[in-house]
């Protein structure tokens, strides 16, 4: 007969594990280590039928404890990890990879490189094929470290170059690193994923050696290949590359378009808006207005003078030309319920005026046009500005007064 409360090996170890977890959550590392000592013998009954067996538990818990415990050293950690590597063949590469990360976090770059190289040469029957993904990662990170060496050597060369020295051996080594790095980085970015760091480094290498085509292609792939997860950074990298190489406005704009769709609050939206405003195409200018309004929907932009000045300029320009007032109306429609409280409250008027005159100026212009000359914000700021005898506020006041019918037309 089975008694549910019978204390057996399995239950006893489960209890032990819960004590370990409690201790870890409370950062009591000594206590966690103590209970781990008693948990370790479950390795002798490790059958890996569960999702996470004892050997993986011990690896993960042991790593945490050794990271945080005040008395543990790098040497101890390394010896522990070496034992963990022998525990589970199926996990070997994962452990190697995490070991390398740990070494990097502790600044032991050479050791990390050695570990990664060693792991790269590992072969174990069909496991090698099964752990293919981890292997690719290992190669990628080793490639990254090669890139890092390359950078160092490049800097050395540049310095020597400045001092008038030439160093053939360093140059050769540098090229060697380049080859190694390029090979590995190229491989990993073929696989759909988020590889920002790898992409940047690879592109850097390509640009240095003058292979702009390849670089462009890589960035295009990274940004536009639908198999890859949507990644705002991909578009940023592409845009920056295009800008560096003096590409046409058209291509720059198309690069930023998707970024606007994914992240309307991105800091590049200002650049985007400026480009769009200047465009001759109506659609682009229309888009520009949309872009800048969308950016200012976000709290992080509330006090950004540049953004407000962009909006102010564009709105002012539209009002003066008396063309496309409907654009403003369209944009304002979905915002008129909440923007007043969000941007143009009396409190904000006071604060903006006190803290940042330029900000209050730009905002007042926008407020005056969107909400009319009688709105709280405009009234307060323009009054204050005129009182302080700042010239531009007088001009502002006149301008808004002159174009107040516009507001009436809009709000109607």
């Amino acid at each position: 007969s089975t008694h549910e409360y019978k204390l057996n090996f399995k239950k006893s170890k489960e209890m032990c594990l819960s004590y370990i977890q409690d201790a870890m959550l409370q950062k009591q590392w000594k206590r966690a280590a103590e209970f781990l000592t008693f948990y370790i013998e479950s390795l002798e009954k490790d059958f890996s039928t569960e999702y996470m067996g004892p050997s993986e538990m011990i690896w993960r818990i042991g790593t945490e404890i050794l990271c945080h415990h005040s008395h543990s050293s790098m040497k101890e950690f390394n010896s522990f990890i070496e034992q963990m590597k022998t525990l589970g063949v199926k996990r070997y590469l994962k452990v190697c990879l995490e070991h390398a990360f740990h070494l990097l976090c502790n600044g032991l770059i050479d050791e990390a490189y050695q570990n990664l190289s060693l792991a790269e040469s590992w072969r174990f029957g069909e496991q090698t094929a099964i752990q293919d993904k981890e292997m690719k990662l290992i190669q990628a990170y080793r490639g990254l470290l090669d890139y890092y060496s390359w950078c160092k050597q490049k800097n050395v060369l540049l310095q020597h170059g400045q001092n008038g020295f030439e160093d053939l051996s360093v140059e050769q080594e540098m090229h060697g690193c380049f080859r190694k790095a390029a090979m590995n980085l190229k491989e990993i970015i073929k696989i759909p994923g988020v590889w920002d760091l790898f992409v940047k480094c690879y592109v850097d290498l390509l640009e240095f050696y003058g292979d702009h085509n390849e670089a462009h292609q890589v960035l295009n792939e990274y940004a536009y290949n639908s198999k890859f997860p949507a990644n705002p950074n991909a578009h940023v990298y592409l845009y920056q590359f295009l800008k560096r190489h003096g590409e046409s406005k058209k291509s720059l704009i198309s690069a930023l378009k998707i970024l606007h769709d994914i992240v309307p609050s991105h800091e590049l939206m200002i650049d985007f808006n400026i480009m769009l405003q200047k465009s001759k195409k109506r659609k682009k200018r229309r888009l520009g207005l949309e872009v800048i309004f969308a950016a200012l929907d976000y709290a992080g932009w509330k006090e950004n003078v540049k953004a407000w000045s962009c909006l102010a300029r564009q709105v002012k320009q539209i009002v003066i030309s008396e063309k496309h007032l409907d654009w403003i109306k369209q944009e304002w429609n979905s915002r008129k319920d909440w923007w007043p409280a969000f941007h143009f409250s009396r409190y904000l008027a006071k604060r903006n005026w006190q803290e940042n005159e330029s900000l209050s100026y730009e905002k007042a212009l926008v407020a005056g046009i969107l909400l009319g000359k009688d709105c709280k914000y405009f009234k307060y700021v323009s009054h204050q500005g005129c009182k302080a005898q700042v010239k531009r506020f007088r001009i502002l006041k006149k301008f808004v007064n002159k174009h107040s019918p516009v507001y009436l037309r809009m709000s109607g």
Binding site: K6, N8, S12, K30, A33, F35, T37, E44, I58
Partner: protein
């Protein structure tokens, strides 16, 4: 001595033992020729075990081991346990005479030794397998997986499968699968017999011997000593001599992965006693430790309750006639009588007395305590009156601390020992490597544990909680008086509490559902649960087990009232 068969010559039952270990009739000096085996309690590697069909056994095998039978292994285990008990203060008679004879009797009854045909048939079957001529008559060899699944002990499917697959290619004699000669046979053949020897059963043997001698050790004490490590159980095979190699199927037999449960050990003991045709055990009288009066006294002390309560427990015991020798003494095979678990019974009696005096309905006991407190203020002479509230606070505090400590210790059990186990020779190196790694890791993290780890076993003690009257903080209640909650009526002191509630109106049929009652904590008052929890801790058994016994005691106590009135609500007046 305890051998009840009639002598073939003179029909008397008067047996003694020769030096050679055979039974002889004292009346006519007829020596039984039946016993051919000599199994000493000391395992000497020169001993040759002869069976009729097998012949001399080989001395040495390749790995320096020798042949040994499973029952020899168990014999060693029992010997070690008996020695440990002796070290705890049990009289030597237990080891040298009682346990010994019980064991021999068992061997005889199960036809493993001391009889005409020890497992001869199956041994023959083995040798038949080897020869190729008797292919037709060859009995079907059970697959190893089948063998493994027959074993009752909980196993790990993975190990079993991996073991079976590694061995399946072996077509030699089955002794390769185990260090013992008859490991596989043991598992296969004896399945049908319910009394195949197992590790928990060794404790049943021990308890039976203790009971026969009426030693002052209850079953819960015994099991607690086992868990605390004072009596070898968990890795007892460590003490097997070098030559007795243990592997393969032996692991299924001798390795335990769980602590024995009270009910299991107890029930097996009853079965065993009946199986061995033992006569009525020596009487349990009121001077015995196991008598309810004595045990109640002990538990009252341990539970820090007033000595005066003992009068009440004795009254209850007397009233329901559970102090009679006939009731208390074990008569093996007597199915009409319910057998007595002395420790649980004593605890149940105390619980009933507490219910009688304090009601324990989560209200009355507190009111009564306040009342006693009031009376205590005016109480100048004599000892203080017992206040339930104070007692509760003190006990709860201690109990929580002890329970927490016990829980932590249980989480820290180390199940493995230095002597590594492996299912087959192939696995040996892997197992050893694992062991080495485990030891390394234990050392590494042990150093990070901070304080030194003294592997202290608590000193074996009969008492888990102790209270001293010398403590000035008033935390000892032994000397407190019950007067605070009693009243005088007709010159007698009776309880102020007029009510009582039954734990259950009707007892279940034990044969149907295995229990007499079903305990759920939420159905009962918290004070009642607290008291159960206290004894549950002391006896290391589940509260429901005590609850069952409480129900039985109550039903005996209120028997008349229960029989008279068929309709009942669960409260009644005494």
């Amino acid at each position: 001595r305890d051998f009840n068969e009639r002598c073939a010559q003179c029909s008397e039952v008067n047996w003694g033992l020769t030096d050679g270990g055979r039974f002889y009739c004292r009346s006519c000096h007829n020596v039984t020729e039946r016993t051919r085996e000599v199994v000493n309690t000391d395992f000497i590697s020169n001993t040759r075990i002869q069976t009729i069909s097998k012949g001399l056994r080989k001395q040495e095998k390749n790995d320096g081991g020798c042949e040994w039978y499973v029952c020899e292994g168990f014999q060693l285990v029992l010997k070690k346990q008996a020695e440990a008990l002796e070290a705890l203060g049990v009289c030597p008679q237990m080891k040298d005479e009682i346990l010994c004879n019980f064991w021999r009797r068992y061997l005889q009854k199960t036809k493993q030794a001391y009889c005409n045909r020890p497992a001869g048939e199956t041994v023959k079957a083995l040798s038949v397998c080897d020869s190729s001529t008797d292919v037709d008559s060859e009995p079907e060899r059970p697959s190893l997986l089948h063998l493994l699944s027959l074993s009752e002990s909980e196993g790990d499917l993975q190990t079993d499968c991996s073991f079976a697959s590694s061995i399946s290619k072996v077509s030699e004699s089955t002794s390769v699968c185990s260090g013992s000669v008859d490991g596989s046979l043991y598992l296969m053949k004896n399945r049908k017999e319910k009394l195949r020897m197992t590790m928990p059963m060794t404790l049943s043997f021990c308890y039976m011997a203790l009971l026969w001698l009426r030693e002052p050790m209850t079953l819960s004490d015994l099991l607690r000593f086992v868990e605390e490590g004072h009596i070898p159980y968990l890795n007892v095979f460590q003490h097997f001599p070098e030559k007795m190699k243990l592997y393969g199927l032996d692991l299924k037999i001798f390795c335990v992965e769980s602590w024995p449960v009270y009910e299991e050990v107890y029930n097996k003991m009853l079965e065993l006693a009946a199986f061995l045709d033992l006569p009525r055990f020596p009487d349990i009288t009121d001077s015995c430790f196991l008598h309810p009066d004595m045990l109640c006294m002990k538990y009252l002390m341990e539970a820090n309750l007033p000595d005066e309560l003992h009068n009440w427990t004795c009254r209850v015991v007397k009233k329901i006639c559970i102090g009679e020798a006939d009731f208390l003494t074990l008569v093996p095979g007597n199915k009409s009588k319910r057998n007595v678990k002395y420790d649980v019974l004593a605890a149940a009696v105390i619980v009933v007395v507490l219910k009688l005096l304090f009601l324990l309905d989560d209200q009355y006991e507190w009111l009564l305590s306040d009342f006693a407190e009031e009376r205590n203020k005016n109480n100048k002479e004599g000892g203080p009156y017992f206040e339930f509230k104070k007692w509760y606070k003190v006990i709860k505090c201690s109990l929580d601390v002890k329970q927490k400590k016990l829980d932590e210790e249980r989480a820290k059990y180390l199940w493995r020992c230095e002597k590594p186990l492996f299912y087959s020779a192939k696995k040996k190196s892997k197992v050893l490597k694992r062991r080495q790694m485990v030891v390394n890791l234990q050392n590494q993290f042990g150093k990070l544990s901070g304080s030194v780890q003294p592997a202290e076993k608590p000193n074996p003690s009969s008492f888990q909680l102790s209270w001293s009257e010398e403590n000035t903080d008033g935390s000892c209640f032994h000397g407190h008086s019950l007067k605070g909650i009693l009243q005088e009526k007709c010159g007698l002191l009776t309880a102020m509490n007029p009510d009582y509630w039954l734990c259950t109106v009707k007892l279940c049929n034990e044969k149907l559902c295995g229990h007499l009652a079903h305990y759920r904590e939420v159905d009962f008052p918290q004070s009642y649960h607290f008291v159960l929890r206290l004894f549950s801790f002391l006896l290391r058994i589940q509260p429901s087990y005590i609850h069952d016994e409480v129900c039985v005691v109550e039903h005996k106590l209120f028997n008349k009232k229960l029989c008279k009135k068929p309709k009942y609500n669960t409260g009644l007046r005494k």
